[in-house]
């Protein structure tokens, strides 16, 4: 596994290991920046295949942090809002990666077979589900909540980071009239326009981080 470490994650890991708690948490947010190259990563998907960001060069990549048992995630899946969004985005040629960063023993943790089962039973349509039980991808991006969305343009630049929509609530009624930041950003990217709301405050359950080892 160590051999696969990229420079960024290696440096981040070094920094995380050596700095005090306060500085560590500061880094948890600092690494991903709209307009800058998106942090590269490698992770194993539900089929056991190693996937990396570079594999999708030239395509728009959407990262969705998820935790099947989080009430905020369930709001979007029980209403089929998330699945519909996945289908629409992949149909337009985007790559959708659902990332599960919960470590073993924490809420939302899944192994490959469970991840696949969840995709089938929920009729979800991600390109792949990435398993990140040591929370490395989450740290690289500074993901805070489930759901938390990142959009990376075909050149590898981070184009959007933040909430899935503008209604920070776990109540299903809040879906009515919600503005999808993802649809807005994708439409603007497609039209060659700058993303008008490129960084928003993500809402939801905390990402369950693995302790730094």
């Amino acid at each position: 596994m160590k051999a696969h470490l990229t420079r960024q994650t290696f440096i981040a890991g070094l920094a995380l290991a050596s700095l005090s708690f306060g500085a560590t948490v500061a880094l948890a947010q600092g690494s991903a920046k709209v307009g800058a190259p998106a942090p590269v990563f490698q992770a194993v998907d539900a089929d056991g295949k190693t996937r990396s960001l570079s594999e999708f060069a030239g395509k728009t990549v959407i990262l969705e942090w998820t935790n099947a048992d989080c009430p905020y995630v369930r709001k979007h899946y029980n209403s089929a809002t998330m699945q519909t969004l996945q289908k629409d985005m992949t149909r337009e040629g985007a790559v959708w990666l659902s990332v599960v960063s919960s470590p073993v023993g924490e809420q939302g943790h899944v192994e490959g077979p469970q991840a696949k089962e969840l995709t089938v039973t929920r009729d979800a349509a991600p390109t792949a589900v990435l398993l990140d039980p040591d929370s490395k991808v989450a740290r690289a991006y500074g993901a805070t909540t489930t759901p938390h969305i990142y959009i990376i343009d075909p050149k590898g630049t981070l184009a959007y980071m933040g909430a899935i929509d503008d209604k920070p609530s776990s109540n299903a009624a809040s879906l009515t009239g919600a503005k999808s930041y993802v649809r807005q950003a994708m439409a603007e990217l497609k039209a060659g326009k700058p993303v008008s709301e490129a960084a928003t405050k993500a809402y939801g359950c905390a990402v369950k981080y693995a302790p730094v080892s």
């Binding site: 009430p71 209403s79 809002t81 809420q107 920070p168 879906l175």
Partner: protein, 731 residues
């Protein structure tokens, strides 16, 4: 069990004594018997136990007092502050209060930074009191009850998060003098004493490269463990360390910017916490932001802040300008005149003018103006009630008065009595005519005013076209603007009658008074009876068979009373007896109505292919690629029923819906339903009807149809909604 009983008993006895003789007993004497806190029933989960605590056992008219939502959290669990930090959601309360009472905002204690490595949340552990100030109405009377219901939602998290909710009710007696509940007052006072104090100085926030520098001129030192909690969740990186240092102008706190950084006004607010002499202190701070930091466009920052939002922000009504709303309201009021229940009342008024016109044109004009006054006063009174409820966060809208079965029944009685009067079964004011001309003409003036009021009351079931958007706009505006819209509505409504009273030329167009007037008058009794039948049907939908029984008994009692008063009018002693009997019958019938007409839960399941509406179902069906039509309706809304008859139930519409696989959902607002009220508010409406056509694409925004439907309109809208589906699929 036993001590609880004893305490409860003592408390009740104490209250009874206090109510009977408020001046006789010293409050101190009562306090010993009142040691049990006035506290609502608890909502208890393994994670948190929540109650509503009152600092009063009895409240005095016009006073302000404190209640508190109490959250007792199990070890390891926490709830959230206004800005929850990296994740989570603040506790929210929406209030349902007795008439005239108001509730303030939550008075938030200073939060704690709760690390959930590597994230940081802002919230509370252990026992939390969230105080809220309640204002008792000035006109509350000793002996009445003040009922407060806090509908609270909160997210409670350990590592995992559970959204929870509960309704907490306090039912407090109103007494001449307040009775303080010492056991509750003490912890509430303590919680309020610990609230962040105003800082007494203004901070300044400036950019410092990638970071932010918050200068605090009033703090020297810097104090230990200083931390700034901003109200906005898009200002700082919540988890980042905050370095404090001494600068030339006071303490400077270095803050990392949020990666969703956005400031939309020139000021930022928040809470400072620090230690002073080992004691925790907190200050509420306002800081001036360097204009270079402020984003000009109002954007997501405000929308994301989980503040307690009392009135859902309208989507469409808000787009109306004041002038457009005024024009719509005026036109809506004008059209209201044509509604079947209003027309007879107005026609009779016009006929009255025709008779009077021969006597005195001045008198006709006076009557017209009095009618106008009656209309305006009644409209503004109703509007004030709707707006007061809306301001309190209660989900009422135009027509709310028809959501109460007793009021529906009262309207049915009014309609029946008007009908009987038109038929000549009894006369109003005939007895006064015998007394003297002065009284009679005063009765005429009062009558003109009351006709105006009555016309408004009978018009409320009908939300005329254009009115919906205008009323929706009105309830979301500051009171003065909102009342201006209702005033326009009233002027439009009164215009035909007033115009008639000022234009004798128009009156001359009417045929000469004669026998035809009597016949027409009698004929107009039947629309009134029809309206009464419709209202009784509404009562049957709301309250079941009990509602029908109550309504018919009320109609019978009303008929009996007017007959009784009529036959005994000229008898001397019999009159007193009959009056007493009439009063008795009215009270007995009223009591019976209130007792038997309790609202029934409306059954959502409906026959056929019309399904009950929920937002989830709309989203799910859109997800399946099906266009969705939503009919927001109510049994008491006559415009809604008319639309169902003339458009929605027509065969060509049904065929088109079937062919295009349109799912027809119905949101029934006959009884109060906060979810429906919220959905209406999101479209900028305060009442029904509302017709929405959702396109077959997930998350697609609905098309709002006009309030008067035609079959053609529905078929084309269905095609549009389904057509979008084809376009999306092709993309």
């Amino acid at each position: 069990m036993a001590p609880a009983f004893r305490n409860g008993f003592l408390r009740k006895t104490g209250l009874a004594l206090a109510l009977l003789a408020p001046g006789l007993l010293a409050p101190g004497l009562l306090a010993s018997g009142l040691a049990v806190a006035a506290e609502s029933a608890a909502v208890s989960t393994p994670r948190v136990t929540v109650t509503l605590l009152s600092s009063r056992d009895a409240v005095a008219p016009g006073e302000r007092f404190q209640v508190a939502l109490v959250q007792k959290m199990a070890r390891g669990w926490h709830t959230y502050w206004q800005n929850p930090g990296d994740s989570g959601e603040a506790t929210r309360i929406s209030w349902t209060l007795s008439q005239g009472a108001t509730a303030g905002e939550i008075q938030w204690p200073a939060p704690h930074a709760i690390p959930v490595e590597p994230l940081v949340n802002f919230g509370f552990e252990g026992t939390l009191l969230l105080p809220v100030e309640i204002a008792v109405p000035q006109d509350a009377k000793p002996g009445e009850r003040l009922t407060l219901t806090a509908n609270a939602t909160w997210l409670v998290c350990e590592k995992i998060c559970i959204p929870e909710e509960g309704a907490f009710t306090l039912d407090l007696p109103v007494a001449a003098a307040a009775i303080v509940d010492e056991a509750a007052q003490a912890p509430i006072d303590a919680a309020r004493a610990a609230l962040p104090a105003p800082a007494g100085f203004k901070g300044t926030l400036a950019g410092d490269g990638e970071a932010l520098a918050l200068t605090l001129p009033g703090l020297s030192g810097p104090p230990s463990e200083l931390r700034f909690f901003p109200l906005s969740d898009t200002l700082i990186d919540h988890a980042a360390k905050q370095d404090a240092s001494a600068g030339p102008e006071g303490t400077v706190l270095r803050l990392a910017r949020s990666n969703a950084f956005k400031i939309t006004s020139g000021e930022v607010a928040g809470v400072l916490t620090f230690k002073e002499g080992g004691l925790a202190r907190s200050l509420s701070l306002v800081a001036t932001a360097d204009p270079a930091l402020v984003t000009s466009a109002a954007g997501s920052a405000d929308a994301l802040r989980p503040a307690v939002v009392r009135i859902p922000l309208p989507v469409e009504g808000a787009d109306l300008t004041l002038w457009a709303a005024l024009v719509f309201a005026f036109a809506g009021g004008l059209i209201l005149n044509l509604m079947p229940c209003v027309l007879p009342v107005l026609f009779i008024k016009a006929l009255g003018f025709a008779q009077l016109a021969r006597a005195s044109r001045a008198e006709v004009r006076e009557q017209g103006l009095l009618f106008l006054a009656g209309v305006i006063v009644t409209f503004l009174a109703l509007a004030s009630m709707v707006m007061a409820f809306a301001a309190l966060g209660s989900s009422v809208g135009w027509g709310f008065q028809l959501q109460s079965p007793p009021l529906v029944i009262a309207l049915a009685v009014v309609m029946t009595l008007i009908g009987l009067n038109l038929l000549g079964a009894f006369e109003i004011g005939t007895s006064a005519a015998g007394v003297g001309h002065g009284l009679a003409s005063r009765g005429g003036r009062l009558g003109a005013f009351m006709t105006g009021a009555l016309a408004v009351v009978v018009a409320t079931p009908c939300t005329a076209p254009f009115m919906g958007a205008a009323v929706g706009y009105a309830v979301t505006q500051p009171p003065a603007l909102g009342l201006a819209v209702f005033l326009a509505l009233a002027l439009g409504f009164a215009l035909p009658v007033v115009a008639l009273s000022f234009a004798p030329g128009l009156l001359r167009l009417l045929p000469k008074p004669g026998r035809w007037m009597l016949i027409l008058k009698q004929a107009f009794a039947f629309p009134m009876f029809a309206t009464a039948i419709w209202l009784i049907w509404v009562a049957s939908v709301q309250a079941g068979p009990g509602g029908v029984l109550a309504a018919l008994v009320a109609v019978l009692a009303a008929g009996f009373v007017v007959w009784l008063v009529g036959v005994t009018r000229d008898t001397g002693r019999g009159r007193i007896l009959s009056s007493a009997l009439a009063v008795l019958v009215v009270f007995a019938a009223g009591w019976f109505v209130v007792q038997s007409a309790a609202p029934e839960a409306t059954t959502d399941a409906r026959a056929g292919d019309i399904q009950a509406w929920t937002p989830e179902r709309v989203a799910a069906l859109q997800g399946e690629g099906r266009p969705v039509f939503v009919n927001f309706t109510a049994a008491w809304c006559i415009t809604c029923l008319a639309n169902e008859r003339v458009a929605l139930s027509r065969q060509e519409v049904k065929d088109a819906f079937a062919e295009l696989k349109v799912n027809y959902l119905k949101a029934d607002w006959t009884n109060r339903n906060s979810q429906i009220a919220q959905a209406l508010a999101e479209q900028g409406r305060a009442g029904v009807p509302l017709y929405l056509f959702y396109p077959a694409s997930k998350g697609g925004q609905p098309e709002v149809l006009p309030q008067l439907l035609t079959p053609d309109m529905l078929v084309t809208a269905a095609r549009r909604a389904a057509g979008k589906e084809l376009k999306t699929a092709a993309r």
